[in-house]
């Protein structure tokens, strides 16, 4: 790829650690091209970027996402792989949250995300473990576009187990980073990354967040940047929901009880999503009724249903495959609640 000298200068500037330091240099000059005389470093970096299919846009470019430009500290460079047009769209919703999702959080995602996507929203997230990964995987599985903002160079994958997912996101959507390739995911990159997620998005949706969740930083960014913040309340006893509940207590967030709550605030019509109609036989329905709303242990269910282990395991598999129940760790089963 060929870039002009301003872009090359900004590529070189992006190797400087710390946003403030970069911004200070950037503000000193009229055109970034004045910063450097020799662009051989940039040329080499561009060569490397081309190998990985990484492109770059700068804050000076016309296609730089306008909503991102309006935040207090917009990134000077955006490296990306995939469809850059997605970034400038107005229908972006950030979905972030805890890395340790409970069944409650999964249930929320399972009920909310399809409605969001079918109503035309595009999910933005950070490719971290937990909520982020589930959100991205959901889109990827449905072949829907999604935006992944990462805290490292685009040639690196963090966390390592998301390598495949990261690649898929870049195919169906776009993968973005403020950092040039070969940048490691350093600790202070993550809060910097979070401001981009909220900066791109119209709103931030947090299904589940613990007391010290990084998603709370995104939440603060969102409030500061004037984005809508949606949280789902959780049990006051659940450590995984402390963060969400705190935001509610501090009156900083809109309480989202249904996906429609989010959509209406953002000005979207909730499309009636076609729910898969699951036909249950009488026996299956009876088993579901036995299970109740709480998670239940297999043996309790054996006792209640009078089925032996072989028959019950078989029935539970079928229900699980139909998407009606979910197995949890320790041979517990739970009916997936639907709204």
């Amino acid at each position: 790829m060929k870039y002009d000298n301003d872009t090359k200068a900004l590529i070189m500037l992006s190797t400087v650690e710390g946003y403030k330091a970069r911004r200070k240099k950037f503000d000193q000059v009229e055109r970034p091209a004045e910063l450097y005389d020799d662009y051989s470093i940039a040329d080499r970096m561009i060569e490397d970027m081309d190998k990985f299919g990484v492109r770059v846009m700068t804050i000076l470019d016309d296609d730089y996402p306008p909503q991102l430009k309006s935040i207090y500290d917009p990134p000077l460079t955006l490296y990306y792989i995939g469809d850059k047009n997605l970034l400038s769209q107005e229908n972006l919703l950030g979905v972030v949250g805890t890395r340790r999702v409970t069944a409650y959080g999964k249930n929320i995602m399972q009920n909310f995300l399809p409605v969001f996507i079918d109503s035309g929203l595009v999910i933005v997230s950070g490719l971290a473990r937990g909520v982020d990964s589930i959100g991205h995987r959901f889109c990827v599985d449905k072949g829907k576009a999604t935006i992944g903002v990462v805290a490292n160079g685009l040639d690196i994958c963090y966390p390592p187990e998301n390598e495949r997912l990261q690649e898929q996101v870049s195919k169906v959507g776009v993968l973005v980073s403020e950092y040039p390739i070969k940048t490691k995911p350093l600790q202070f990159h993550f809060p910097e990354r979070n401001r981009i997620i909220s900066g791109l998005s119209k709103g931030i949706f947090i299904p589940e967040a613990g007391d010290k969740s990084g998603s709370l930083i995104t939440a603060d960014d969102a409030v500061e940047q004037g984005r809508e913040l949606f949280v789902v309340p959780g049990s006051i006893f659940s450590t995984a929901s402390v963060g969400c509940n705190k935001k509610i207590k501090e009156l900083q967030a809109t309480i989202a009880l249904t996906p429609e709550d989010v959509l209406e605030t953002l000005g979207y019509d909730a499309k009636k999503t076609e729910k898969e109609v699951v036909q249950l036989s009488l026996e299956e329905q009876a088993l579901i009724n036995l299970m109740g709303s709480e998670k239940i242990h297999l043996y309790a269910l054996m006792e209640k249903s009078g089925l032996n282990i072989a028959a019950l395991s078989s029935e539970l598999s079928r229900l699980e495959i139909m998407g009606v129940i979910r197995k949890q760790q320790g041979n517990y089963y739970e009916v997936i609640p639907s709204m």
Partner: protein, 510 residues
């Protein structure tokens, strides 16, 4: 005079004839041994001399040369003492025997002239029998072991003097009586029973399926849930060992020197539990003095790896090839050894490093990356060979019910044997023995699904995120479930149940 006695040496579990040539020459008195003997054999010099002297024979003061032919193979063990001593006695014309060449002679000497117990008698004798040898002279302490082989004449002695008297015709001896093989069930040596395990229905069902189809099993559960106890019960529900199987096991245990010489045969299925610090040679076999490893000692039985992720990853990876081929191949620069290693792998692990993940009462304090690192110690290819992965419950069954009587091992074994019978009939014309060993072609042939089953399997994979490699595993397990059911076809509910036992494939650890 030159004397030649016959003995046997081992390479892996197979023996080969060693001819021991003793020659006495003129010259300064000396004792030279050629033919790549190891230290234990070389040290026979002192034992042989004292044993001859203390048996009141005269030790020749000549230049003694001993050759172990074939000269190019490395020989190990102490069982050449007796044939060497006899060779020296014959060569020095201290005794006159016409018959000594008819026997394969094995035995270690003590300084006082008595004959000690040796290792590896069963495989040595069996290989000699296969070569057509029929007459043996062995230590009396190994008599029981050799008595299980029929159609041969075994003479067992306690002292060098007795052997000499027998060979010179001064005393008559009767060959050993053949022992009858009694399988373990009648002796009932297993000191555990499945009826002692309360609750744990999932795990017990999985054990039954695993044993019935020869599948490998992984139990996932918190510490103290009873994983080890259940693993110990696996041999109790396995079908009785046939005589041939018992002989195979005995050969290996004999070489390793862990055979109980008062019984002389391994009649109960082995249950081996190597510690997680086990090295690769300890597990696979080998070492400077070749010794079968734990996986070979578990041949025809159970290899139990407790806390599987605690094992070194490199060590675990070496299991892949034996799991596939049923043999442990130990390659060294100078030789390659093969030990049989067809075992059932039973492994256990905690759901996370602290063990409390998914527990109702205790909180798991592991970070996601710790859990990921822990689980990912088990590589995909290895997990691929473990068909059943079930969760063991940390809770007591009493939480739900007043102890209902549990089924005994005997009644579970009856069902297992029935299912094995069906498999034997099915694979009569194939090298496959159990469902686990089915080839891809056989899976297609014997695991035909109707449209309902087909759809279930397909949906199962997309919905439950099952990995692609799990597919044939699920089919094989479903085949076993159908066999336990006595059903000709694999139907949808068999598939559904099999899917339920693929815990690790699901992405809990998200």
């Amino acid at each position: 005079m030159l004397a030649k006695t016959k003995s046997y040496a081992l390479n892996g579990v197979d023996g080969y004839e060693v001819s021991i040539e003793v020659d006495l020459n003129a010259g300064l008195p000396s004792y030279d041994m050629v033919g790549l003997a190891d230290t234990a054999i070389k040290e026979s010099k002192e034992r042989v001399r004292s044993a001859i002297k203390n048996s009141l024979y005269t030790y020749p003061i000549r230049k003694i040369t001993i050759n172990l032919a074939p000269a190019y193979t490395k020989k190990e063990g102490s069982h050449f003492d007796l044939p060497i001593a006899l060779g020296i006695l014959v060569a020095s014309e201290e005794i006159v025997s016409k018959t000594y060449k008819d026997y394969i002679i094995l035995g270690e000497l003590s300084l006082d002239g008595s004959i000690n117990h040796i290792k590896g008698v069963m495989p040595l004798v069996i290989s000699a029998v296969q070569k057509g040898y029929k007459k043996f002279i062995l230590p009396a302490k190994n008599a029981k072991e050799a008595s299980y082989i029929s159609g041969i004449e075994v003479y067992a002695f306690d002292k060098l003097k007795e052997v000499v008297d027998f060979l010179t015709g001064e005393i008559q001896a009767q060959p050993l009586q053949t022992s009858e093989f009694v399988s373990m069930q009648s002796l009932n040596k297993y000191n555990v029973d499945l009826s002692e395990v309360k609750g744990q229905f999932v795990a017990k069902r999985a054990l039954e399926i695993a044993v019935a189809g020869g599948h490998n099993l992984l139990m996932i559960g918190p510490p103290g849930a009873g994983k080890t106890m259940m693993a110990k019960c696996v041999p109790t529900i396995m079908p009785d060992m046939t005589f041939e199987e018992a002989i195979e096991v005995t050969k290996i245990h004999s070489i390793a020197g862990i055979l109980d010489s008062s019984i002389g045969i391994v009649a109960s299925r082995p249950f081996r539990t190597p510690h997680h610090t086990a090295t690769i040679p300890a597990l696979m076999g080998g070492g400077s003095n070749a010794r079968p490893g734990e996986i070979s000692l578990a041949h025809n039985g159970v290899l139990f790896l407790d806390e599987m992720p605690e094992y070194q990853r490199r060590t675990l990876e070496t299991l892949r090839q034996p799991l596939e081929d049923g043999v442990a191949v130990v390659s060294r620069a100078k030789h390659t050894l093969e030990y049989p290693a067809r075992f059932m792998l039973v492994a256990s692990m905690n759901p996370c490093p602290c063990g409390n993940l998914g527990s109702k009462s205790k909180e798991c304090k592991c970070s996601p990356s710790e859990i990921h690192r822990y689980v990912s110690k088990l590589s995909g290819p290895l997990l691929d060979r473990i068909d059943l992965q079930v969760e063991v419950d940390g809770i007591s069954y009493e939480e739900f019910s007043d102890a209902a009587p549990s089924e005994s091992s005997a009644s579970v074994r009856a069902r297992v044997e029935k299912a094995r019978g069906i498999q034997r009939a099915r694979y009569a014309s194939s090298t496959t023995k159990t469902n686990d060993e089915m080839t891809n072609a056989e899976v297609r042939k014997y695991c035909k699904l109707d449209s309902v089953g087909e759809a279930l399997l397909k949906n199962g994979f997309t919905r439950l995120n099952l990995t692609a490699r799990a597919s044939s595993r699920v089919l094989k397990v479903a085949r076993t479930i159908a066999d336990l059911d006595g059903s000709e076809d694999v139907s949808a509910h068999h598939i559904a149940e099999a899917i339920q036992y693929r815990s690790l494939d699901r992405k809990y650890w998200d």
